[in-house]
Symmetry: C2
Subunit: 298 residues, 2 copies
DNA sequence: GACGAGATGCAGAATTACTATGCCTAGTAA
DNA sequence: TTACTAGGCATAGTAATTCTGCATCTCGTC
């Protein structure tokens, strides 16, 4: 019968967050990435939690972890709690800076799609500060401090999101180069530029265009699509163009599409709005304006 | 336009907890008590949070803090989030130890009310471990790791709670002493025992019994009511008895109540059950059994 | 004018969290 | 078999956070 208040301390919050992340993502490594720490740190946190609780939460095996019954029974509740915490945090942030709109986007979209629209946006929304963060993967808008996300994603009817059209691809090149090719088969042996993270674009397009050589020749690879576009404009070779990303140079004539054949990737340009962005806030207005100028044209 | 993922770190969880606590309790000092740290620590955490958010959350004045508009606008959401987190934590704990029932009670209730019932309880619930923690104030059952709380409280219809009757007080003493007094006025000049945290018991009783001297004479003061009861049994003087706490010695004859006059304090013996204690768990069964043997009698 | 209550600031100390490393195991590929 | 890879574990050292223990400040109240 313990007397008086060494009130038992609550479970460590950071350990709970690690548990929630690991349970949601299904592994310590993924959780570590989300939390921006090393996997070892996550493993440690979870061990601390298990020691505090007095029971294992994950079964460990050599190729990953899986939730124990206890872990599985409580994971959803923790996720809900941290979601709520994320929402509250987000409201706190936007309440503190009501005129700041934080956009995150794929680097290529940030540069080639968003960039050209920013000046107009700023002009039409004086007083609103727009910050843009490039990221490789879409954020969990309930958790991360962004108001708007702009990514190529499957058009799964997520939360508030504008679908700005499928990701359509087709070869593009500088006008001078276009004179040398007339049908897709002419590409054989020519320089094909590609983006590191979209390495399979050429294959995918080729698969839908029968008379083109299947084997994609090795060519310059760029880690930034915008760089590949510049190179293509400079005449360095043929690039697999994404409709949303090359509409500007196509319109200006800096690039041309030598063939009619295009392929559709099973994903769409999605503009998602954080659920905390209420009507009439800067974020909602920015999202709406972007979606209006959003289609393929500009 | 920031490039790539130094993903902005989320707000520090501990600082958020400090903010939530301070906002709910209305001050840094109270929050510090709840979190078992010094007020300085809370002040620091909140400052960290304000710096991270970029806006003040509290207005400071010499006699306390008050929420800013921003703080007030978000406090409720944080409370809800941490409540949810507490519920999840509680489920995790009880899932890990399904047969442990954690009771917290006023020290006097733990010793004089719960103590005598524990043996019976243990006999009727084999396999269930009952732990008892004495505390001065009722816990926030959504947050703190207890299944059952036993305190004198206003009978505000809180969550699942059994009302075990008003807190009724009247003087008691050893049988030998009782022979010397016949009416309340006879108490004048005699030794009146009292409990440190219930110092006003005598005044309160006197106020409802006209013919008793108003000025409560100084007498031995005990910090543990159970100690005062022992002393009274030993014949050290008159003690203001609480019906729920002296029913055992009254029944056994170790103490007697020399007068008929009793007073009611505006509070009840409340047995609260954590909302996470589902039907048929150990906690629910313990609570039910206690409530059945709960009335004034035993 | 001297409390008392509540908040603050800072330096040092204690605690907590993270990284870096090497090791282990179970699949998979050669 | 023999790498090789992926994911997790353990440990030690280090970095970062957080807490305490003051002295101090500002208002009300007595």
């Amino acid at each position: 019968m313990a007397l008086n208040p060494p009130r038992p301390p609550s479970l460590p919050l950071n350990a709970l967050r690690a548990f929630e992340s690991a349970s949601r993502l299904g592994g310590f490594k993924a959780a570590a990435e989300e939390l921006c720490v090393t996997p070892g740190a996550v493993a440690q946190q979870i061990k601390v939690l298990e020691a505090a609780v007095g029971a294992p939460l994950f079964w460990r095996s050599a190729q990953g972890v899986s939730l124990t019954a206890l872990g599985a029974a409580t994971a959803a509740e923790f996720s809900a709690a941290f979601d709520l915490l994320g929402v509250a945090t987000s409201r706190l942030r936007s309440g503190a800076a009501p005129n700041v709109v934080r956009i995150t986007a794929l680097p290529s979209l940030a540069q080639l799609w968003l960039g050209p629209r920013l000046a107009d946006l700023r002009a039409r929304l004086p007083g609103v500060t727009i910050s843009v963060t490039a990221a490789e993967r879409p954020p969990h808008l309930l958790r991360e401090p962004f108001d708007i996300a702009l990514f190529f994603e499957p058009a799964a009817g997520a939360s508030a999101a504008y679908n700005l059209g499928e990701d359509e691809i087709f070869p593009v090149c500088a006008p001078a180069l276009a004179k040398r090719v007339h049908v897709p088969a002419d590409l054989a042996g020519l320089v094909l530029l590609s983006d590191a993270s979209w390495a399979s674009d050429w294959d995918h397009w080729a698969a839908t265009v029968p008379e083109v050589p299947q084997a994609r020749p090795a060519g310059p690879v760029f880690s930034l699509y915008a760089l590949a576009v510049s190179e293509a404009v400079a005449g360095a070779g043929f690039l697999m163009g994404h409709r949303h990303l090359v509409s500007d140079p196509l319109k200006s004539g800096a690039l041309v599409a030598p063939f009619d054949d295009s392929a559709m990737l099973d994903r769409h340009l999605m503009l998602s709005v954080a659920p905390t962005a209420e009507q009439a806030t800067g974020a909602a207005r920015v999202a709406e304006m972007l979606s209006l100028t959003g289609g393929y044209g500009c």
